[in-house]
Symmetry: D2
Subunit: 137 residues, 4 copies
């Protein structure tokens, strides 16, 4: 399972650009971390909402993929994000999980936290829908 | 008005990283374009949802900022994105507009299109809420 | 097409409870109206968000159903509503339309307006996803 | 605190129409229950999404109101609902809670469950934003 998620994750050049790392993979739950790189900020120097969204959406999507058949890939149908606090700290951590599995649709959730020393601040909450797609070979 | 939006846009290092460009600014409507850079893809080589979200969210946020008082900045409170088609083409174009202005909240919308030659394909629709924040000086 | 939508609409007892009426049906677009009944208010006497949601969601769902195969019914997978103004007036009108048709998912939108004399005020904007389901017979 | 929530709840005629009951109130968490009345169904006889939305939104809103100053009321700015399963059973139960309190905005969540005998099935997950408004006297 982890191999398959890693292959897909590593094929996402956006994850490399953002410095994101696949931190852990278990059935229905995936954690991705990312630093706030100098090239990932909004106008006040905090992490850009695009960064927060990208790792939250990917964590949720890969959480769904862990529960999908081997021959499928995952697509985001829709995702909603509520931003809770500015993205500042040493590291962002996105924890995605499956709320409702299903053959056609999976409802997922992700929380993104900012970690600074031993302080953990939730910065975003995401809720959305993932769909399996057959791999084109 | 355009000056102020440009200053804020240029201060977003994420926009530089994504190769995004502030294409046009008018009251309540802002257009941002971005290529699909080699470092901006998902696992199939199409533009990453994080790219689509980032330019759609920024276009909607700056559309709101055009209608806010001079001494304020804009923050995304929440944003929802429905993905309509893969992000492939020569250029992505995000058109953000204000649906409902307001002193405390602004409801915004953005459409993101993929442009390939003379073909325009809507790839995402966003709907969300922007809030003005006083600039810290 | 209209017959099928009417049959389904009339089978929704909630629409009767709310006094809702199927106003018009055309391919990819459905309009539903409803008064603000004495039993449909929130704590300030305006129309309840549940009323606004119910007719907006139904208009969007039936808009999707007009483009689905004859032997299918429609289910809401997810829906997001931004409330723009209080629901007050003589009548509420929900206009649902299909943004992106598809065999597995349809992206839809609805606007709900409050009508008072000749004044039309947008009170809500909805964006969501409809899925076709096979009719069980 | 409970008195104030009860007064507001009882002033919502929609809650009476739906047979909804304020089940419990604690700081940042409110539970509302409702039967699936004969007048609250969709076309297949299950509870209407408008019912599920109405009690989920109200539970989330009142959860926010428990943390707002005495002289304020609560409005839904936006709400997103993912439907997980058909609303069938003896009773629906909506549990709303505050994810992120704040003076201008509160991010809230609600889960709606269908209860049938001793079986509890999650049927919807909501995520949204509540805003305090000064009471007009």
């Amino acid at each position: 399972m982890t191999d398959r998620i890693e292959r897909s994750f590593n094929a996402q050049t956006m994850m490399h650009t953002l410095g994101a790392r696949l931190y852990s993979v278990s059935p229905g739950c995936v954690v991705i971390t990312a630093p706030i790189l100098p090239g990932s900020t909004q106008q006040h120097g905090f992490g850009h909402a695009g960064l927060t969204f990208a790792i939250g959406d990917s964590a949720a999507g890969y959480a769904a993929l862990t529960l999908m058949p081997e021959e499928s890939e995952v697509l985001t149908a829709e995702m909603k994000i509520n931003l809770l606090a500015p993205a500042k700290g040493d590291l962002l951590r996105a924890t995605g999980k499956v709320i409702k599995p299903g053959g056609r649709l999976m409802v997922v959730q992700a929380e993104v936290d900012a970690i600074e020393g031993d302080k953990i601040t939730p910065i975003a909450l995401l809720q959305g829908t993932m769909v399996p797609v057959a791999i084109r070979s």
